[in-house]
């Protein structure tokens, strides 16, 4: 337990809290931006905070212990994931911010949410979960292939290590544009933004997994959602945009990435779930393998 001291834990918790605040604000700002884009005023930038606190304060319903337990597991897993995330030069657990931890610890949260949703007994929730999992099969593989190539080339799987290398060599997005493109497409899927919002699909399956939630459970899932978006976008920022020398730079990059994803989302329609999978297994995986091949066999862009 090399890294575990009170200080580290406090820093980690701070990172998680920071992530939540950052993403919730950025999301609020984005709602404004989108509103303006659609010739609306849009809500206030802190609207998301309001929504969350409102939901938390309401008295909702529960469908049994797994319904509640899953929510706690989801939030706990995602918070734990966020605690590992390096933000600019703030790293809670130096050396332990392993990429694979993000992927798999993240899955704990996702599993918790899926479990809770299915536990509600509503088939629409189950369908939503099914779609979310199916979508995951689509975006995870290309993303991880790109990362695997990076890890292989730089010989580190630590996120902060990857950031440090980029400070010497320059941003990965510039040297490895194909990989960055793949990662961005995958990010879009991770975030559940259009055209990959099939698993939420409010008009179609009544918000899918979220259909049964209300009150504090919904509020906690909102928090979980914001933190998970923070993790996902931060991963992209750290791996492809060189993280940040200071928090401001990090926030700026973060904002750009998230807003870009949001803007793209608002100009596109929605894929059907099988289209999502076939899409990911046509273009991004090929590009990912191409990028990995270029890195591994030819060493392009990594030295």
């Amino acid at each position: 337990m090399v890294a575990l001291s009170i200080i580290n834990v406090l820093i980690a918790m701070g990172v998680a809290l920071f992530g939540f605040t950052l993403q919730t604000s950025v999301a609020g700002v984005n709602r404004k931006i989108i509103g303006r884009m659609q010739k609306r005023y849009g809500p206030k930038w802190y609207q998301e905070f309001r929504d969350i606190f409102k939901a938390l304060s309401k008295r909702g319903i529960t469908h049994g212990w797994v319904f509640d337990f899953g929510v706690m597991m989801a939030l706990g897993g995602i918070l734990a994931t966020a605690m590992f995330m390096p933000v600019a030069n703030i790293i809670a657990f130096e050396g332990y911010d392993n990429f694979f931890i993000f992927v798999y610890l993240f899955a704990v949260g996702m599993l918790g949410m899926a479990m809770s949703a299915s536990g509600s007994g509503n088939p629409l929730a189950s369908i939503g979960v099914m779609r979310a999992l199916s979508q995951m099969v689509g975006y995870e593989v290309p993303f991880m292939v790109v990362i695997l190539a990076l890890v292989s080339a730089y010989n580190t799987s630590s996120i902060s290590g990857l950031v440090a290398i980029q400070q010497d060599l320059g941003w990965n997005i510039i040297r490895l544009p194909i990989g960055a493109l793949v990662a961005f497409i995958c990010l879009q899927g991770m975030l559940g933004k259009k055209p990959f919002d099939t698993f939420i699909a409010p008009a179609e399956i009544a918000s899918g997994p979220m259909v049964e939630y209300g009150g504090k459970q919904l509020g906690m899932l909102f928090i979980m959602h914001e933190v998970s978006v923070f993790v996902e976008v931060s991963l992209f920022v750290n791996i492809f945009l060189g993280g940040g020398n200071n928090v401001i730079e990090f926030i700026a990059k973060y904002f750009v990435v998230y807003t870009l994803a949001n803007l793209i989302a608002n100009t596109l329609g929605r894929f059907k779930i099988d289209q999502v999978i076939t899409f990911y297994y046509k273009v991004p995986i090929m590009l990912a393998l191409l990028q990995a091949g270029l890195i591994i066999f030819l060493g392009w862009g990594v030295n």
Partner: protein, 608 residues
């Protein structure tokens, strides 16, 4: 206690069990619990330095750390699963035979792990195989046993042929001697490696030899599926380790053509393993029978094990061994929980069940923990092994294998969730309203297995250090750990830290949850239905063809089973043809054949 005594004792016990079971089924089944547990106790007390004991005739055993590791894994699985046996006594057609074969198959596996001589190894391997084979038809399928045995025998015979090829060259059956000599005979060595590799593939259920797993695991009695999946397929892993790590495979192959820094043969093995991961995953996703689903997941997980063993380096081999352990425990627990559901409801079909969590919460929790481990999610043991394997894959830069491994890993979320959602969660069927939680002695072993999964997911270093010692014994650099952290090639992992962080996150969530106003409890039927009035839980449950959109994408996949069926049909046709040709009722035809054969043989011979 020595190994010889334990093995011989278990074999004797199998006979005793039969006799006792004839008098009292219950008592016999209690013996099946005591046998493995006592043996486990001896192994744990004596440690890996357990005395091998004097030889009885050719029966000679040598204590190895590898054998100890496998034996203990096997004994944990056998011991825990055996608690289910008493409950199945009245469901089985031949309970006494079941008890006897249960212990006999255990004796076979233990004996095999410690054999110093190939023939002894083969004897015990075959004992394990045929003992388990006779148990399978006690379940739902008669054909499954035949398929299992035929496949298994195919593997065994490949193995036997390899043994005798080495014998023909070196004149000995001694494992360490013969394998040590292999490097001097490269041509033989390559054949031996291929044949023994096939044997390992068959036992592990690697593509294209995987078809027996779903048949056998899916149709065996519910008490025996965990043994098959958690225990007996790991025999293949043992053989694989023997081929790659004990035999000087890399030395033999060092002059061969290389792909990505690996000998071509190893790379082909990796590709086959990758295909297994993908095929196993895809097939598991579309199963409606929970047992078949887990069986296919074993195919996918076997792929990981083979990848780890084939790469044979510090991280991959330890990852493979960790995975052997983690998967054995997790899949045994998963099968047991499904078995417990089947014990109460009589079915393992996901679409026929639902909402079992309300009636069997502990069973549900056990299943949850085991699938978390199987899917390689922290904080369970399965995560450690996957992490190690991915580290190794990444540092080798094996992107295609990596892609398959990632696919298998993500796909595992899908298939493990299917029973979770369809079987345990969702609407409870009215006909299952009377169902109770599994009996206490079924719950205990399941909880123990879950505890093991969790414990070694949080504090794996004791086990990993031991695995490191095994690696040193096998001539590979041992895995290094620092305090609670595991050193990878390109990063560190501290499972304890991960667990504590998760715990902290969970506590935070719990505090938030508790500090807020209490929710109102409503029934599962009281949900959003778009203003429809739904009153029948049966129609309000999403479990049938769960992943329909994905399944549709590959529903026209080529069926490997058809290939085997075709092969069998060819054999039958050929047999019929021969019978038709040679067994005419007319003596003249036979006389003609006699004359023709004489002429044919004479053709080209000097007559005088």
């Amino acid at each position: 206690m020595t190994i010889t005594m334990i093995v011989v004792g278990l074999m004797a016990l199998s006979l005793v069990t039969y006799v006792v079971s004839k008098m009292s089924k219950g008592l016999g089944s209690v013996l099946t619990i005591l046998g493995p547990l006592v043996a486990l106790l001896f192994f744990l007390l004596e440690g890996s330095g357990i005395a091998s004991g004097s030889s009885i005739g050719i029966l000679q055993f040598g204590a190895t750390k590898l054998g100890w590791f496998f034996s203990v894994t096997m004994l944990i699985v056998y011991g825990c699963v055996a608690f289910f046996n008493p409950y199945w006594m009245k469901k089985l057609v031949h309970p006494s035979a079941y008890n006897m074969l249960y212990i006999l198959s255990l004796a076979g596996t233990i004996g095999m792990f410690f054999a110093v001589d190939f023939i002894v190894l083969f004897i015990f391997l075959e004992i394990a195989v045929f003992a388990s084979m006779f148990i399978i038809p006690f379940g739902k399928s008669r054909n499954a046993a035949v398929v299992y045995f035929a496949m298994s025998t195919f593997g065994s015979f490949a193995f036997l042929y390899a043994i005798f090829m080495m014998y023909g060259k070196f004149g000995s059956f001694d494992i360490s001697f013969v394998l040590g000599q292999l490097a001097t005979e490269p041509t033989t060595a390559i054949w031996v490696i291929i044949l023994m590799g096939i044997a390992a593939f068959v036992k592990l259920g690697i593509f294209p030899f995987h078809i027996w797993l779903p048949m056998a695991h899916g149709n065996a009695p519910d008490t025996f599926s965990p043994i098959l999946s958690g225990g007996l397929v790991k025999i293949g892993a043992f053989i694989a380790i023997m081929v790659v790590a004990i035999a000087p495979t890399y030395e033999v192959l060092k002059n061969s053509y290389e792909v990505m820094g690996l000998p071509i043969l190893i790379y082909i093995v990796l590709i086959i393993a990758a295909i297994s991961m993908v095929v196993g995953t895809l097939m598991a996703i579309k199963q409606d029978d929970a047992k078949k689903l887990i069986a296919y997941s074993s195919v996918a997980n076997a792929g990981y094990i083979i990848v780890g063993i084939a790469l044979n380096d510090q991280l991959s081999l330890s990852g493979a061994m960790m995975h052997i352990f983690a998967h054995a425990i997790a899949s045994a627990a998963a099968f047991l929980s499904i078995g417990a559901v089947s014990y109460r409801t009589g079915t393992t079909k996901i679409s026929e069940l639902g909402g079992m969590i309300q009636k069997m919460p502990i069973t549900y929790t056990v299943y949850l923990i085991s699938i978390i481990s199987m899917a390689g999610i922290p904080p369970m043991a399965g995560f450690i092994s996957k992490w190690l394997l991915f580290q190794s894959l990444a540092s080798h830069g094996l992107m295609f294998i990596g892609a398959a491994a990632f696919f298998g890993s993500v796909g595992s979320f899908l298939y493990v969730f299917r029973p979770l959602s369809g079987l345990f969660l969702g609407q409870l069927k009215p006909q299952h309203n009377h169902v109770k939680e599994a009996p206490i002695f079924m719950v205990v072993p399941m909880v123990i297995l879950s505890g093991i999964s969790l414990f070694f997911g949080v504090l794996p270093n004791g086990l990993l250090n031991f695995i490191g010692k095994i690696q040193v014994e096998l001539g590979v650099e041992g895995i290094t750990t620092v305090d609670t952290a595991i050193m990878g090639n390109n990063g560190l992992l501290d499972p304890t830290l991960v667990f504590i962080n998760f715990g902290l996150g969970f506590v935070k969530a719990f505090i938030i949850f508790m500090s807020l106003s209490k929710s109102r409890k409503v029934g599962l039927m009281d949900t959003y239905t778009a203003a429809e009035f739904v009153y029948d839980p049966n129609v309000y449950h999403y479990a049938k063809s769960y992943y329909a959109p994905i399944e549709r994408l590959y529903e026209k996949h080529p069926d490997i089973v058809a290939l085997y069926k075709g092969l069998v049909q060819r054999v039958v046709d050929l047999g019929r043809l021969l019978q038709f040709i040679f067994f005419k009722t007319k003596p003249g035809t036979t006389a003609l054949f006699i004359v023709l054969t004489i002429i044919l043989v004479l053709w080209g011979e000097k007559i005088w």
